[in-house]
């Protein structure tokens, strides 16, 4: 019941946003697959762990229970340097107060939204034995559910735990940056719903875009840079403790 209410509220928010910002609606011009360089910016300073992004994603993409295309992790560093990471139910219902470390003992805490990194050197792409996982012409890593036979090799290959086997479709599944939306000029659902602007998405090839400006001016990090996967999800002020 609680989940249904949360999903309904996310749906209402999406509807209101569309109503109030008609400019964000799909451009009527035909989408060109060439010339895009999409990038996703996560600002860990702005995320408040409300979980609206997780709920919006669930609603938009019909993500099955207990699996996530995006989730939010909470990093709590105690004064004695002890690190506690949690993400109860992927932060679908946000976070409750952490009981393991009382508030006065917390040195710092922050939230880290996670999703598929759409790596340039995506480990999941070459391992797919039938080519069902591929780079789209505009650089997004996608999986064709009508061709994937559900071996799970790509799930094992992803070092970020971003993929899962969809129990309903029996194929590999993951974040697509809401490909069905971005090719219509819309933003991914999680970006559109984020109340603090912690998630931003855009075309880095367009030098006037907000994302291109952030890429130029901010100190950014990527998850597990040492792997050489070259993620296209960039984090502002990424803490080295985050994997």
């Amino acid at each position: 019941m609680k989940s249904a209410c949360l999903l309904a509220s996310a749906g209402t928010l999406l509807f209101l946003r569309r109503l109030l910002c008609p400019g964000a609606e799909a451009a009527k011009t035909k989408y060109s697959f060439a010339g895009h360089k999409y990038a996703f910016i996560v600002d860990t300073r702005k995320c408040i762990g409300c979980g609206a992004c997780v709920r919006a994603c669930k609603l938009e993409n019909k993500v099955p229970n207990r699996f996530f295309r995006t989730w939010v992790e909470r990093y709590t560093v105690a004064k004695d340097s002890k690190l506690i990471v949690d993400s109860p139910d992927g932060a679908l219902r946000g976070f409750e107060e952490l009981k393991a470390v009382p508030a006065p003992d917390v040195a710092r805490a922050f939230f880290v939204p996670k999703l598929c990194n759409h790596c340039t050197n995506a480990p999941c792409v070459p391992v797919c034995p039938v080519g069902a996982t591929y780079h789209s012409p505009d650089g997004v890593v996608l999986t064709d559910p009508s061709y994937c036979f559900g071996c799970g090799y790509c799930i094992q290959a992803c070092p970020y735990g971003a993929r899962f086997k969809n129990p309903a479709m029996r194929t590999a599944d993951k974040c697509t940056w809401c490909y069905h939306r971005i090719t219509k000029g819309l933003l991914p659902a999680c970006v559109e719903i984020c109340p603090t602007g912690a998630r931003r998405f855009g075309d880095a090839a367009d030098s006037a875009s907000q994302v291109a400006q952030v890429l130029r001016t901010e100190r950014l990090g990527v998850l597990r840079k040492e792997l050489g996967t070259r993620p296209k999800v960039y984090y502002v002020e990424l803490d080295p403790k985050v994997r």
């Binding site: 989730w71 034995p129 039938v130 994937c148 094992q156 735990g161 086997k165």
Partner: protein
């Protein structure tokens, strides 16, 4: 399946590869390992292995016939399985499985036919009715078993056995490659993983033949050929030691150097103490090592030596199975976040449960039983009646 989270793990992390993916390399190891014994006889004329060489060939056929079944059971869409042959993505280590497997299966079928052709023709000549019709179909219309014809058969068998050596090596090593190329899982990521699989495959194949030879001898009320058992035990010990050495090298290479590997290994040790330390290392390696050394280097009575060989072989089978269990299941337990792990309790029923897996393992044994009835692999003269 019950999967409990300990510490922090990424919310999508599960044991996605379950018992069928343990069974798949196990069956493949047996299918390619049993080739070793038949090849030593057919290609290198190792006479001491003559009593079991045809039986090993049938075992290879039975096991390779079902080696892909666990994969099909595991797939989300088994009806799309042939996509891997129609549109293989050559960058994937898994993509050429269909071709390698199909080639090996074809070689085994051909070799079985050529090796057993004289027997098939004899059955055609000596039987009547349905039985005759059945063997006539098996003979494929070729009823010439003259000396010159058998000489040609023999040459073809030699050629097939010769081709089967690299193919079996590729097939068993290939399974290791599927795991070894995954850098995201520390316990799998080693390019020499194919070598471990190859050595384990031979040990596993020889061990199974020793055990089945014992059962077959009991069923036929005959004695095991002691020279043959001794010879198989020597091979078993050799490959058990080699496989252990390569696994030790893998352990030493990573231990202390790679924090991810260390985290994974600690998780494996704490979650799978019984299967890893108890079964794989002690019961599956140390005990058979001692027993096989004893039976090879001490003067023992034949019956006692054979009993020790069967016991050791059974333990080696446990070693290989638990090695695969710990490798496949164990490697998926530690989180990629390195801050927690999951536990795994296999379900009894369900597509990837214990029951289905047990049936899959039994299938090749049933087929082998049927095959030995159709194409008797044991020479009556070779064994003294009990």
């Amino acid at each position: 399946m019950a999967q409990i989270l300990l510490g922090f793990v990424f919310p999508n992390e599960r044991v996605y590869w379950q018992i069928p993916i343990v069974i798949y390399p196990f069956l493949t190891c047996i299918a390619t390992g049993t080739f070793f014994l038949s090849t030593l006889d057919h290609l290198f004329k190792k006479k001491s292995l003559k009593p079991v060489s045809n039986f090993a060939l049938l075992a290879s056929m039975a096991f390779v016939s079902f080696a892909s079944l666990p994969l099909l059971v595991h797939l989300g869409h088994p009806e799309r399985a042939f996509n891997i042959m129609f549109t293989p993505s050559i960058s994937s280590a898994m993509a050429t499985f269909g071709y390698i497997y199909g080639f090996y299966l074809g070689l085994v079928l051909l070799e079985v036919w050529f090796v057993f052709r004289p027997q098939i023709v004899q059955f055609v000549r000596s039987s009547i009715g349905l039985k005759r019709a059945f063997y006539t179909v098996l003979a494929l219309g070729v009823k010439d078993i003259s000396e010159s014809s058998l000489r040609i058969d023999h040459r073809i068998v030699k050629l097939l056995a010769f081709l089967r050596v690299p193919t079996a090596c590729v097939l068993s090593g290939y399974v290791g490659l599927i795991f070894g190329t995954l850098d995201s899982v520390p316990l799998w990521s080693w390019r020499l993983m194919p070598l471990i699989f190859l050595l384990s495959a031979v040990a596993c194949g020889v061990a199974l033949i020793v055990v089945l030879y014992f059962i077959a001898a009991k069923a036929r009320r005959s004695r095991m050929d002691s020279r043959c058992v001794r010879s198989m035990s020597a091979y078993l010990l050799t490959f058990l030691v080699l496989s252990g050495v390569v696994q030790l090298i893998n352990f030493l290479r990573s231990y202390g150097a790679d924090p991810e590997w260390q985290f994974s290994f600690q998780t494996l040790k704490s979650h799978l103490t019984f299967t890893f330390v108890g079964l794989q290392l002690v019961a599956g390696w140390v005990v058979p090592f001692v027993l096989l050394s004893a039976l090879l280097f001490l003067k023992l009575k034949d019956a006692f030596r054979n009993a020790l060989a069967v016991l050791s072989s059974f333990l080696v089978l446990i070693h290989v199975f638990t090695f695969l269990w710990n490798l496949v299941i164990g490697a998926q337990l530690p989180s990629r976040a390195l801050k927690g792990s999951i536990t795994f309790s296999p379900e009894l029923f369900g597509k990837e449960g214990i029951l289905v897996s047990a049936v899959i393992v039994l299938c090749p044994l049933v087929l082998l039983f049927v095959l030995t009835k159709i194409l008797p692999p044991f020479e009556k003269k070779a064994e003294a009646a009990a």
